[in-house]
Symmetry: D2
Subunit: 438 residues, 4 copies
């Protein structure tokens, strides 16, 4: 985990104190259920809560015990016994370490999911605000990096809104996948523990029961979780890439906010760089890198091996913390993005009206030309304009077409002119917005 | 795509003829909608279906045209014009190549999903049959590859059934993600085409409309799709790994079916190897390898670049074909798996009853020993049995405990004996089966 | 393997006939060595060559036998016996299938490496030619997509030349890693075969001996091989990305060659898209996707399991074929790249001379200003120019500085002017070229 | 970075103080060179060393400045100015941040490589010791997890020794790839700085010069570096997997050392689990996960973008720290591995002598049977023994063969018996050892 790409809220989910607190809650709720079932004395279960319910656990002490026993849960239980006293022997009855560890991880990932959903919602709010603001900010659409036909910046942002709505759905589904509880004993048979204990702990911790655990919760769930994060990270990369492109010197249709006192470069004082979105591009790579090891974790041996553990100690916090940070960084970028409609307009005209080549093509076809003939005709005129030095006159293409007798034989002058009315391109903007924003 | 790991049903989805057929249907349905809207003549739309609706497309001819135009959709349209005649100029009006290509890919992936779901269902059926058959086939549960406590092979299979039920859910969700239609024109603005065309084509092709396309359907959908496949592949790997472990010479609790005339090794005639499940392990790696490039495909530039295309030409067929094959190979392995309950029973006893160490530990705790004391007491006796040569007498551990005065001071002899009654471990098998199979 | 991204030379390495030819050669050379050692009759070895040395193997027949025996090498040997006759029983003596399969794979990968090196050499030649041609074609250097300081297109290409020289070194090293021969028997002990057979076959096939094989050649070698390919693919992506950026409409400093009759878009006849470099970007992702499964293949069980095999049937041909194709496609792009020095010059001036901000900063520092003061002074003036509409007068920055008394207090007018002499930036071009081209 | 999988030596390379120390050295050596060239006063260069050469940098102060300037190198230089005083304005002259950052990263990765090589050397030493110790510890070789033919544990370890020798070579090569210095200015043109400064700093820092840098050192080098680490990690996984298999209850040919007071399971006191090698399996996945983002980092835009930076802040320390830890953990496992030759011997006999099936096959062939007939004959007898309950009499296969008249018609009884003399399998152990250990 890289501290500079981390928010305290998400860090807190993964710190040692939180983990021990969750472990305690699992054990204490299990004790309640065991007491209810008559397996352990009710006053023992009460004592556990009484003595340790508000405890701050001594992380250093637990580490010290673990150094000796080489077992983290035993170390925790030993420390818990120091706090609880003799009733501690009723703790963890019939349970195995994984019951605690895996259920805790479920709680942490479920909480992390909630935070991530909040992050996406902030991104969505920012995208919606800016989309409505720039619903009709006209700009050139680009395929292959080459001017294609006009669109609006609002449509661009609406598309990202739709994508991040899917991101939210994916995170909600990922949480549902991961939020399960297993208190099923050493090999998942409930041999030493009643399934009702699992049901009780699950309900108390906000989880559902795992239908069949082995010793562990099956890792296909975790793989699906981290893959979902990887997809969300890739959507972040796409939006970041869009902004980076827009901020290129030659394009400059938008810029990341550049604060007072900020320095773009130690050497070149004139620089204003899209460093936040470049950073988001890198963070996306980092978050994605959790997917492969999570997938490799699925095929544990028999009822479990512990190879997944070190992986999850890494990717659990790292992927959630960095994605959480990235979502908020992205939201901030969108919220404060400097947007330049004038420059969008200027760029639109760079190719001298070539962005209407399709409309001319269609009109020629409808006027009776075969698709092939029409294409050749338009392409020939377009290439002539293409080879003019930039910036071309904004009506360069229309002028050329008007001078081509093969064109004018099929299309009257006013018809030709009408094909260059850009408003035609924006007739469905409200349809698109209605689809996305309802 | 590796032919030996492919079934004809899935190959067919990806062959050139199918692709051109789908392209045609998209174009022809679009023509219908355009005719309905009065953009093109109704009899032109009718003629398109009439002339080409049952056509077999000449793949070699299309390739030939593409070699010249360097554009696959134009090559197809040119060939279609050769079939349809003059009305061909009404085809593709206001559409862009990606409208055809992306919607076709959606159709192919949706159909592939359906086949994959069938494959999973065959795996599920096989797992259920064998699980019910071996509901009470007792075997040792293993954590870390080391004997832990008893379970049944039925529970193992029920767990896989639950996992593959999730696999099915993931594939169903993946299909829903991917099954969208975009007929929105060059930059997604519907500038030259009415959104009702998209709605019509979507309905006819069994898709939903894409709320905002750029020139393309956003690739986060495809990334999610291939990630879902990767998770399913990892579940295959886990089951394959379980069987490979079971077939190890020293374990031999199950074996892949070995047919008459089969040869396990060119050099060693005695060999019967789990080659199918090893192969499935490799196929899982192959299917998973589609996830990263699919994630890298998301961040296309602006309204689109074409970098995703070559990737999808590879992973589209490869991942679906190999996963489909793997599911059926896996189902076959499970259906015909040779299962050896006697050997499971023999293996269970290998450690001389140590698999009841937890029950002794719990009994001592309940009899008043602290968790620490009880643990030391049981561990000391267990390690003595552990160091006996294998195979140990099946009651070796009980014998030792009976001879330990520290143990007998806390537990009476008949109580001790009762702890070694294995039936205790299977009390919840029906609970688990009810969770999984209802 | 995607046929449209494949060259026949590389395909040939992987076709069935070539594979059987190599298998035969391995068996026949081994027979020679066995005959020399007196294990089999010399005339048997001679007969093997005589009967099958120029044979075309019947691939369909071998497939047919394999369908029955479920073992590819046995199927081949059975077919070989049909060709060779009774002496066939002296073939494969003491060998195991992997001796043949793995040594064959080494031969194929070694030959593939040679082809890949040829591909890189073509790229290098193209880069050198164009670098020398454009050694002093001035263009703006860009960091973060933002204009930084001038460079030359020759330097850009020289940098890529250096990178592809490393690519060549990596491929040469990868070949050396992979080009080993193992004829060591069922578990690598040479129990049934003399190590001198391995040495003979290795020498004849252009390989070195594998110091310790198990049943197979250890897969860390193959992992290293495919990782090397992945790095080369990433270098291709970088050059492809550079060209894609250069071809953007707003930049247009270079363009992929656009042939007569080519169509950029089915809908928009004006388009000229960098489709080859976009395709290379996608191919890079595909080639890279071989790295992870190759790494996952390393940890085979004990003396071997066969999980690697299906993976290698995929990535072996796919990664080498697509990388080979990509290298030649890239070379073609560079060879024919349309390069526009005038546009480079025009872009250079877009920011009104801000690209000299560092030189002004340094001059102010040397004139006595603290780094902090100088930075603030330059940044303030630069931001004023930055906020001017584009295109700015090419001397906009100089004009502003001349009007700032805090600047002129430290720098005389002619000194200021001299800082805007761009030739200063190119003083070391020859040094850089000497480093790269010698 | 996960603290529990980290050694202080490697952590130290990556801590803030070390980084600032390296930054300082780069700046101070550059100042020396600049002074030598007459660009800055010699006594300024001297003063820089004098004031800050032994300084401990105030990390919190630097963080504070960075929070304001949002630029790490500027923050450092500002703090350095606080230490050095007015001469600080001669620091960083003509340099850009990346000159410092990238050269520093090279130093860190080079030092990390040295530590990793030490780790591999410890693994090699342990492997050699144990290999010589168990040169003739006979065990069954296993292909597909199934008994094949005998080998020795010494051969197994010798094979790993050879693999880790390659690992060492890869790390040495990776260091050479990465250990370059770039002091070439904002876009790599040396516009503001003499190339001799770079040469001086390179020599002082133990690096070679980067032939062409842009603003940064090209990232194909880093990709190759992290791929090399990934391959080494996979080799660790293979050895870890071997040991995990050996420790399985049914096999138990070796065990990880189990210390006094260690607890294998919180629930089951009898457990001794291969937790270290399972952990190594997981760490291998983590280290490997650096490869993909490193490959994605290569294609930076133009002269650079900063997307690589966040990735490297993660994978730089994480991959090197975890690999370093893993190598030492692995070395410890091998050094203290409990090895059980008696159990190896017992396992060898489990299949009743079937491991000699190939020798019988060969003898029958040499006695005149066709390969096909001989195979059928041996397979039929072998399958009969295979289906006997385990453990079989150690001479079960020989007994069966002696009773088969088709066999005895070809092979005399004493010949048959001689084929079951296992010593034949070990005739080349010394050859193999000579290849590996010289």
């Amino acid at each position: 985990m890289i501290p500079r790409y981390a928010r305290p809220e998400m860090i807190a989910i993964w710190d040692a104190q939180t983990r021990f607190k969750i472990w305690f809650e699992i054990e204490a709720h299990a004790a309640d259920a065991l007491a209810e079932l008559g397996v352990i004395p009710k006053q023992a279960a009460a004592k556990i809560w009484e003595k340790a319910g508000n405890a701050t656990f001594d992380v250093a002490r637990i580490d010290e015990i673990e150094a000796q026993t080489k077992h983290d849960v035993i170390a925790f239980l030993t420390h818990l016994a120091e706090i609880v006293g003799p009733e501690a022997r009723f703790v963890h009855q019939g349970m195995t370490s994984s019951d605690v560890l895996d259920t805790c991880l479920s709680v942490q990932l479920a909480r992390a999911s909630d935070l991530l959903v909040c992050g996406v919602e902030r991104v969505l709010a920012a995208l919606k605000t800016r989309a409505l603001e720039h619903m009709y900010s006209v700009r050139i659409g680009r395929s292959h990096g080459i001017h294609a036909e006009p669109t609006t910046f609002g449509i661009t942002l609406a598309g990202f809104y739709a994508e991040f709505s899917r991101a939210k759905d994916r995170l909600v589904a990922a949480k549902a996948e991961i939020a399960t509880c297993a208190i099923s004993g050493a090999v998942g048979t409930f041999a030493q523990i009643d399934p009702r204990v699992e049901a009780h702990v699950a309900a108390q911790m906000g989880l559902t029961i795992e239908p069949v655990s082995t010793q562990v919760i099956p890792r296909d769930r975790h793989a699906a979780f981290f893959c979902a994060l990887a997809v969300v990270a890739s959507s972040i990369e796409r939006l970041a890439t869009e902004i980076r492109h827009m901020q290129r010197t030659e394009v400059l249709e938008a810029e990341e906010f550049f604060s007072e006192g900020q320095k773009g470069s130690s050497a070149m004082p004139h620089k204003r760089n899209p460093v936040l979105t470049e950073n988001l591009t890198g963070l996306a790579r980092l978050v994605r890198s959790a997917a492969v090891p999570a997938l490799e974790n699925v095929a544990l041996w028999h009822e479990r091996d512990i190879s997944h553990s070190s992986v999850e100690r890494g990717i659990g916090p790292d992927a959630t913390i960095h994605l959480d940070f990235a979502l908020h960084r992205l939201a901030g970028v969108v919220e404060k993005l400097l947007i330049y409609p004038d420059r969008m307009k200027a760029n639109l005209d760079l190719l001298g009206g070539l962005h209407n080549s399709q409309r001319v093509l269609l009109a020629l076809t409808q006027a009776g030309a075969s698709r092939e003939e029409a294409y050749s005709l338009v392409q020939a005129n377009a290439m002539a304009v293409w080879s003019m030095p930039s910036p071309r006159p904004s009506d360069a293409f229309l002028t050329r077409l008007r001078a081509d007798p093969k064109v004018t034989a099929l299309l009257r002058s006013d018809h030709l002119t009408s094909l260059f009315d850009d408003s035609h391109h924006f007739a469905q903007v409200d349809t698109i917005f209605a689809r996305v924003f309802g």
